[in-house]
């Protein structure tokens, strides 16, 4: 298929729209997760969705995206709760708490998934598509939901930009001026859960974290201003969603989710290498030119004052 055919195909157009909005919103909320040093949080919440999806299927016995996503959201909330209990009431540090919750939830999810696969419903359930995502399974109502949730996420981040900024930079000071830091903490985690929920259908639980973090890391290379970083991160996410979807549609049998993630990685390498100021090439070039300038000056000094 050439590009024009792809764009003209109504089904692909919907998927494109969905992954575009998914990339945009997860890039935006991911910026705050990254700056709050909670990169692993997105990964944990995404993996935690799997048992939620399985339990939803076991309870309802039907293959319904909305039930699955409700299950995923609930599992995410339980994970959020467990993480904060572990870090608040024990001496366990956050990275360890995230590690524990991630692996135990995912392990439990895989056990349930295997159980379901071996049961009478067998492979009919199609639950395994949530591991790595399958855009082909997305229908129009899914895309509507993705767009709605994306809109809410972006709207919230705009309205609470000032609070999120202070919370990310200096939570102690935020608490000092009376911001409900604990509540905001939960609130941001819920927004991440929301991004994960709309992402797992397209990208899957295993790779969803990369859509939250990679665009944010890429965006950080280009700017020293938070609002520009958040916007750029959204744009990188959106570009990744679009390019991943386009590549997977034009090359037969390539999975969309992993391609979206790989596109995000390409943007990341591009940013890391070519960004002005913070990029690798610019850093190396700056160091070399300083060195050269210095040695030239040294030579000049030696030349004018012969021993």
């Amino acid at each position: 298929m050439n590009l024009l055919d792809i764009i003209n195909d109504p089904n692909t157009r919907w998927i494109l729209l969905g992954t575009m909005f998914l990339g945009l919103s997860s890039g935006v909320i991911g910026s705050f997760a990254y700056l709050r040093k909670q990169s692993l949080l997105g990964d944990t919440l995404a993996h935690a969705a799997l048992p939620g999806i399985c339990v939803a299927f076991i309870l309802t016995g039907v293959k319904s995206t909305s039930f699955f996503l409700i299950g995923a959201a609930l599992a995410g909330l339980v994970a959020v709760f467990l993480i904060s209990v572990l870090t608040r009431y024990s001496k366990i540090k956050q990275d360890a708490a995230l590690g524990i919750v991630l692996s135990s939830f995912f392990g439990f999810g895989i056990v349930l998934l295997t159980q379901i696969q071996q049961s009478e419903y067998g492979n009919q359930s199609g639950l395994d598509t949530f591991l790595f995502g399958q855009t082909a399974s997305m229908v129009m109502s899914d895309v509507y939901m993705m767009m709605t949730v994306s809109f809410i996420l972006i709207f919230t981040c705009t309205v609470f930009f000032k609070e999120f900024k202070l919370l990310s930079f200096d939570p102690g000071f935020a608490k000092g001026i009376g911001l409900p830091v604990v509540f905001l903490d939960y609130f941001i985690m819920m927004l991440i859960v929301a991004a994960v929920v709309i992402g797992i259908q397209a990208v899957g639980v295993v790779l969803m974290a990369s859509l939250l973090i990679t665009p944010a890391v890429s965006a950080r290379y280009w700017t020293e201003r938070l609002h520009i970083m958040v916007i750029l991160s959204g744009i990188f996410g959106m570009l990744s969603g679009v390019s991943g979807t386009l590549i997977s549609t034009s090359v037969n049998n390539l999975p969309t989710g992993p391609l979206i993630v790989l596109s995000a990685t390409v943007w990341f390498f591009f940013s890391m290498l070519f960004a002005p100021k913070r990029g690798v090439l610019s850093t190396v070039w700056r160091r070399l030119s300083t060195k050269k300038k210095y040695s030239l000056e040294q030579d000049k000094r030696k030349g004018s004052h012969p021993l």
Partner: protein, 251 residues
């Protein structure tokens, strides 16, 4: 009627079982510059964080100018330890100072011209106007400390809490900061400073609090900052100083 700028009653704070600050009660009169000194682990920072409710307390009551702490938040300024934040955050000096206005702005409102103007004024007071648009990781330690101070000034508070503002700053910056704190005091503000350097206590602070889990002594520096009380507070660890040295220290 006399009213204490800050009144703390029976404050106890524990991280895990063991109390770090135990049953602390004291009053601070308005318009003073107060140094909080004591050995490592005496709970100096913990005391400040406990008063500001940044960490949970086991018991105790804090009143600011006669009202409960929660009602007085807008009249409190806070300078946290510089290492408590990641300075490689995508923002500039002016932005950080403007954060001092967030508490007055309230939810939903965005900082605008008035906040920008106020922030520039505060940057001017700490001599950092030309660095307003500098990314904060590009600032030296002393400059970062000044930015934090400017942010606290932007809070336009009546009482200030400063957690080791002199750590890692050069002598010039230290002098500039103390100059500013003295100006605040002249304006009738109350400033509490966690401080390490015993040699400058007499010069800087008109009141001193000696802290070691409990308030050992608090009062005018002349009355409190004497060898006997210091030895008591530092548990004899100051004994390593010779008489000549401590004479110099406490002159």
């Amino acid at each position: 009627m006399y009213q204490a700028a800050l009144k703390v009653e029976n404050l106890t704070i524990a991280y895990h079982k063991k109390p770090v600050v135990e049953d602390v009660s004291f009053e601070v009169p308005e318009g003073n510059l107060i140094g909080i000194i004591g050995p490592n682990g005496a709970g100096k920072s913990t005391l400040i964080k406990g008063i500001l409710e940044l960490i949970p307390k086991l018991s105790g009551e804090v009143t600011i100018s006669g009202s409960s702490y929660k009602l007085m938040r807008k009249s409190i300024g806070y300078v946290p330890q510089r290492e408590s934040v990641d300075w490689d955050f995508p923002t500039n000096a002016l932005d950080v100072v403007m954060m001092g206005r967030y508490g007055h702005l309230g939810w939903l409102k965005r900082p605008g011209k008035a906040e920008r103007h106020k922030a520039m004024e505060c940057l001017d007071k700490v001599g950092m106007v030309e660095y307003a648009n500098r990314q904060i990781s590009q600032l030296s330690g002393g400059q970062q400390q000044r930015i934090f101070l400017a942010r606290a000034l932007a809070q336009e508070a009546d009482i200030y809490f400063m957690d080791e503002p002199f750590v890692g700053v050069d002598a010039a910056t230290e002098k500039a900061i103390i100059q500013l704190l003295m100006e605040l005091k002249e304006k009738g503000k109350t400033v509490l400073v966690v401080h390490h350097d015993l040699s400058t206590v007499k010069e800087y602070f008109d009141w001193t609090m000696l802290l070691n889990k409990k308030v050992m002594k608090i009062g005018p520096t002349k009355e409190v900052f004497i060898p006997e009380y210091l030895q008591e507070t530092y548990g004899g660890r100051l004994a390593i100083l010779s008489d000549a040295q401590s004479g110099l220290l406490l002159k």
